[in-house]
């Protein structure tokens, strides 16, 4: 096919690509290093976004204060005899609960983000498909850190004295961040599937409430009927709560910590590939 010119050609004939040039120019896939670097770039974008929309921090600042005080005063007397005695039980529970609420926002925000034009560009770039999902989640580690620190501070202000000391509390916060990051994959997956940010919110609520309340976060398992106890025992949130209690209250890295990390790894192993598949299907 000949090319008809309606305009003078540029003076220097530009170099034309040959098949060899194309082969030299492109690679067949992203390396692990490239994927990591792309994820960190997306994380950078998410922190910029957070800084410019400070209302994104409302859930991780207000909720720890509110929930800790509310549940401790509401349930403390009934469950443990006094608020003081309930605090070591409930603080690690609230920790998991706020982290889970924080990761719910991850899915909603991803969905909102994916509707924007800029995601068309992300999709058209030769970047790893997991980077746009994992990036914001890396930035969210900051939110989990804020939420867990505030929960502890509120507890301490109310008279909670963690037996694990500083090291135990720091480890508990770290574990909460790991758990938050892992469970966020569930909501990210929902984010890639649902039709709108609103439906992500709705579906996530239905996942979050059973996960948090049907765990040992607020009440001892022994008080529950058998069928409920059975669910509570397999709920990954229970593992995390038990492990956080061991760390914060006893300063011990127990087998529960190991199981909590295994549970988190299992959640990632299932939901990260599902999320990437859901995201690809959106193309």
């Amino acid at each position: 096919m000949t090319m008809q010119l309606t305009r003078p050609m540029p003076l220097a004939e530009p170099k034309r690509l040959t098949a060899a040039d194309v082969a030299a120019r492109t690679t067949s896939h992203n390396s692990v290093g490239q994927t990591l670097s792309q994820t960190m770039s997306m994380a950078w974008r998410a922190t910029k976004k957070m800084r410019r929309n400070p209302e994104q921090f409302f859930d991780v600042t207000i909720q720890p204060l509110l929930f800790t005080a509310m549940f401790a005063y509401l349930l403390g007397g009934g469950l443990s005899g006094s608020v003081q005695a309930y605090l070591p039980l409930v603080i690690p529970g609230i920790l998991a609960q706020t982290a889970l609420t924080a990761c719910m926002a991850t899915g909603v925000q991803l969905r909102e983000d994916m509707e924007k034009g800029v995601f068309d560009r992300f999709k058209s770039l030769p970047m790893a498909r997991i980077a746009p999902l994992a990036g914001p989640m890396v930035a969210d580690l900051l939110r989990y850190a804020i939420a867990s620190t505030l929960t502890f501070l509120t507890g301490i202000a109310m008279g909670y004295r963690p037996g694990g000391g500083v090291a135990g509390v720091v480890l508990a916060i770290l574990l909460t961040m790991i758990a938050g990051w892992s469970l966020a994959w569930v909501f990210t997956w929902v984010g890639t599937l649902a039709r709108s940010a609103q439906s992500v919110q709705g579906i996530s609520m239905m996942i979050m409430f059973p996960l948090t309340f049907m765990s040992n976060a607020l009440v001892p398992v022994e008080t529950l009927p058998g069928w409920l106890a059975a669910f509570v025992k397999v709920n990954p949130v229970s593992y995390v709560v038990t492990a956080t209690r061991d760390l914060a209250n006893d300063g011990q890295v127990t087998g529960h910590v190991g199981w909590a990390i295994v549970a988190c790894a299992a959640v990632i192993a299932i939901f990260a590939p599902l999320s990437v598949r859901g995201y690809k299907r959106h193309l």
Binding site: M3, P14, V22, T26, M42, G117, D120, R121, L125
Partner: protein, 332 residues
Amino acid sequence: MKHIPAVHAEGLVKSFGDFRAVDGVDLHVEQGEIYGVLGPNGAGKTTMLKMLATLLPIDGGRAEIFGVDVRRDPHRTRQLLGVTGQYASVDENLTANENLWLFGRLQGVSSRTSRATAARLLEQFGLQEAANKPISQFSGGMRRRLDLAASLITRPPLIFLDEPTTGLDPRTRGQMWDTIRELVAGGCTVLLTTQYLDEADQLAGRIAVIDRGRKVAEGTPDELKASVGNSTLRLRLTEPADQPVAAQVVRRLLGEDPVLSPESGRLNVALDAADRAADVLISLREAGVGVTSVSVDAPTLDEVFLALTGHGTGEGADPSATADDRELEVAR
């Protein structure tokens, strides 16, 4: 060494349920040319581009970008092209500078090089003063330019431009056209979609006309326009009753029937060359036919469409129509 075409597509199909948005389109774009895809809203232009850019799965047919199979090797394909969409696909939460830096980083450009490239592109696109402003303060034209700049960071050999000037004012439009020409002068291949015949005419070496998911014509702008005459003479007669006489005069002079609209006494005459208008006017005066208004216009997309498909673009009141189009609407 044998050159490979920038784009080669055969029988592209995209269906949404029963609706075939793209229905067996062949496309062949040589390296270094500007290829225009012309058609009204909803003709399937954007869908076609999205398939070629790996943004939508290809339902049927096959496509190659520089010899790389789009369906089989999307990752390689993405490394060969830059996409600039109808709506600016830049991040609203970031500044212009941050946007360009991020897109560079995401494509493996080092932080330092990315910063330098961002600065150079912002200057080249006249955006350096707005470099650190949030995108929300940008005008439509600025956004569009930033969007194009973002596609150029890694200097891809092929650029897709989806309606690059829709909704822009004429001056900004002209600037955009200049930028596109510079790209091609620098060795890029450009595949652009547009609703405007004059845009395709100004920029493209070859044009495909798309209607309802099918390619209805292909050729140089001149070939396309020749199918409807190079320009149109629009007349309003003092006495609508003179129409038959006027039509006869035109037929005798040009050997072709004018298009009549009896109620308003209007008469549209397709011309091979604009200066034939004078001949028509002189003959009308000699025949004693009075004329109240005269204009000579390039044929509109609507007229090209009418000629090619037998139906109009179906867009009586397109909100994104250019000033010229709108004047026409009013005149009608």
